[in-house]
Every structure is written in C-alpha cells, then in structure tokens.
Assembly symmetry: C2
Homo-oligomer: 211 residues x 2
DNA sequence: TGGTTGTTCGACCCGTGGGTCGAATCGCGA
DNA sequence: TCGCGATTCGACCCACGGGTCGAACAACCA
C-alpha cells in the first residue's frame, strides 16, 4: 500500500511529464465539453468544471489560458473529427455520389453524437473571441461545402435528385444537428440504429421521384 | 407642431391606459426576442434590451418582473402560434393524414421564422426557472405529440410510410428547428419557397418506397 | 390649479464569476 | 537527502449585470 493511490483525480500511469500534460488537457476538454453541452457555455462556471474534475479553478488556468480557449479547443476537436478523420473521406470520383453521401452522413452522425461534436453543434460559436470564432466558422463552412459538393456531384451523375441544393443541405444538417437535443447515448436507441435510420430518411428524400 | 412628438420611443396612438400598457409590453417582447435570438439569452443584458428601445433598465421592470419572465413570455407566444393559431389545426379524421401533415409543417415553418418562434427554438428553455420551464417543456411536448400523432395516423391510413415514428419526427423537427440558424427574412429566399421546399423534402422522405 | 395615479429614470446594491498571485506541495534526478 | 522545476491551490481582485429604491415627471379628473 506504500504509494498506492496518490489521490490524484487524473488517473494513474507513469507516462513522462509532457505526455501527462497532454493527457490531462484532454480530460479537461472532455469534461468541459460535456458540461458546456448540458448547461450551456455561459451558464457553466469554471468552478463547475473544476469541481467535476476534483481540481481547483487556478489549476484549470495551468492548462488553458481562458474559458474561451477551452470552448475553442472543444470546437476544434469536433470539426477535426469530420474534416480529417483517421479514414479520410473518399475523394470525388471514387464511387457514386450517393455512396459518398451515405459515408458523409454516417460520419457526421458519429461526430455529432460524440462529446466534442455535440458541444460544437449545441453551443453557438458567438461566444468565442473574433479570431477563434473565425476559425470555427471557417471549419463549419468547409463541412457545409463537403455536403453541398456531394449533392452537386450527385445531381450531375444522376444518383441524387433534388430541387435546391442549398436548401436541401440545410434540411439535412438540421436533421443531424438537432440530434444532440434529444438523443442520449444511454437511451434505448443505439448510435448505429440512429445512423441507419437517418441515412434511410435522407436517402428517400433525395432519390425518389416526387409524388 | 404643438405637442407633435412627445419623444416617447413607444410610438403614438391615443389608446386608453391599459391598452397602451399591453401594446408596450408587446414591443418589449418583440425586441427582446430578436436580441435574445441574435446574442443568446445569457449574453444579452437588460441594458441591451433597454437601449434598443431607448428606455432605461428600471422601466423594463415596470412591465416585467424579471429577465426570465421576458424570455418566458417570448416562448409562450412562440408555442401559442402553433397550438392555438387563429385557424385551428384540422382535427384528426378531417382529410388524409398526409394533408394534415403538410398543414402542420407549413404552420410550423411559419412559426419558426417569426421572432417568437425563432426565440423559442434557439434559446434553450433551461435558462428558465423550474415552473416556467415546466410550462414551456409541456408546450413543446404537446407540439411533438401533434406531429407524432399525424405520423401514426398516416401509418394507419397508409398515406405515410416510415420505419420509426419517433426518430422520423425528430429528424423532421430537426430540419425545421435548424432553419433559424441560417435563414434570414431579408435574404434571397422567401418564406413561401422555404415552406414549399421543406414540405416537398419531408413528403418524399415519407411517401416513397425505399430504394 | 391641485391632487392622484400611472410612468420613467438616475443612482445604488450586491452576488457572481472570470481571472490573478504567491505560497505550498509534489516528484524526479543527483 | 537535497534541490529545483512542475503542479496545485487558497485567497483575493474587480468588472459586470440583475434587481431595487425613491424621486421626478406626465396625464387625467375635479
């Protein structure tokens, strides 16, 4: 029992200093993302986050420069989950647009159901300072562009039918971005079912003849 | 030019006392709804609202008991726009479920594009105190029930096809609730086009055979 | 023209919460 | 075991914003 549990809330592991530092940053971010999502950014106090981690407020400032930076990092991680996931999106030309659409939707649903994705989608970026906001908005614009690109391609190769690409893409993002408002990972429905049903829903809306 | 403009920001009119009072309340609410929507509830200060109206903060307290009450009234008006609009929803049994679905969607889009509807959908109800929140949540639940009811009815009378009513209704609400995040009344697209396209989108998703 | 009620505001109160500082403690290498 | 950097925290600062108070001002009636 000598040095058994050093009582540190971070969890154990003998990684070297810098590694520990990065690890702890991640833990803070995950926790913060969850609380931001539940209570909202401005309703969340740094003390809330600190208490959830069993640490003190100043300790947070050892890892992050400000409350904003914490939110910003959460958003960045959410965006990265899509723009450069480990398996990159198949490039245009590979497979039909319809297949790429399905892949995009599945990936987006997965993202939106994760802590950081949920945080990205539920807490507005207007809380951030100008430079950070600009980056987040840029990232989201890029993601918007992905879907629109796929729809355009599909309209060209005939695997997708829709009147208005801009409106259609917004309806689709809406259906997906709303998911965190009602979906809970512990609930009856699991993520795969959700994903399948969402793809089916969109698929029908885009592929079938009207009437 | 005698008593031309009394410099009151409220606008003129010689209505009697109580009528004036109600009118001014409405003006406050519309303004507040707009600012809450733009900046978010917690990011909005009462001074912001007061300045937008050219009045002082204490004057707001002459018309409302608290910042919460203002938000609550906005939400209430948003909900009322659907649950008891001037033309009531046709009761179950009148027309096909599909027709009633279209009517519901059109009405919901109209609501969500209005100041109060936008405010309802964009500012979470968790800002409100328990009793007010309960009422708002109840109202939203009622609206949820309307759509689910229509879908169930449609599944029965065969005018609607869908795998999972709960998920489907959430996708639909998502597509509509997201509208305020990107739609602007002054933009190129008008509300009617939006409404028509949304109905078409959902219609296809619900009526066509898969594949 | 005075009194009474309805309406508005300047000035203030005070709790909250983001952020800082300096001291205490930890943990590893020598 | 000592020493030094890495890490943590108690106590504090202070701006901001919701909310209040009492006085001024307006409007209507006699």
């Amino acid at each position: 029992m000598a040095k058994a549990t050093p009582k540190r809330p971070w969890g154990e592991g003998i990684q070297d200093r810098g590694e520990q530092y990065e690890l702890k940053r991640q833990v803070v971010l995950r926790t913060a993302a969850r609380i931001y999502t539940q209570r909202g950014f401005h309703e969340t106090t740094l003390t809330d986050i600190a208490e959830a981690l069993n640490i003190s407020k100043p300790t947070l400032y050892y890892y992050f420069r400000s409350k904003d930076e914490i939110l910003f990092e959460c958003h960045r991680l959410g965006i990265e989950a899509i723009t450069d996931g480990e398996t990159p999106m198949p490039p245009p030309g590979e497979g039909t647009a319809r297949e790429r659409l399905h892949e995009f939707l599945r990936r987006y649903v997965r993202m939106v159901v994760d802590d950081f994705g949920t945080c990205l989608v539920m807490t507005g970026a207007n809380a951030l300072g100008p430079e950070n906001r600009a980056e987040v908005v840029g990232g989201r614009r890029q993601i918007d562009g992905m879907l629109r690109g796929i729809l355009e391609e599909g309209a060209r190769d005939g695997t997708i039918v829709c009147d208005d690409i801009m409106l259609t893409s917004m309806f689709i993002f809406g259906a997906m971005n709303w998911i965190p408002h009602w979906f809970h990972r512990e609930g009856e429905i699991n993520v795969d079912t959700l994903s399948v049903r969402l793809v089916a829903f969109v698929d029908r809306a885009l592929l079938s003849a009207p009437q």
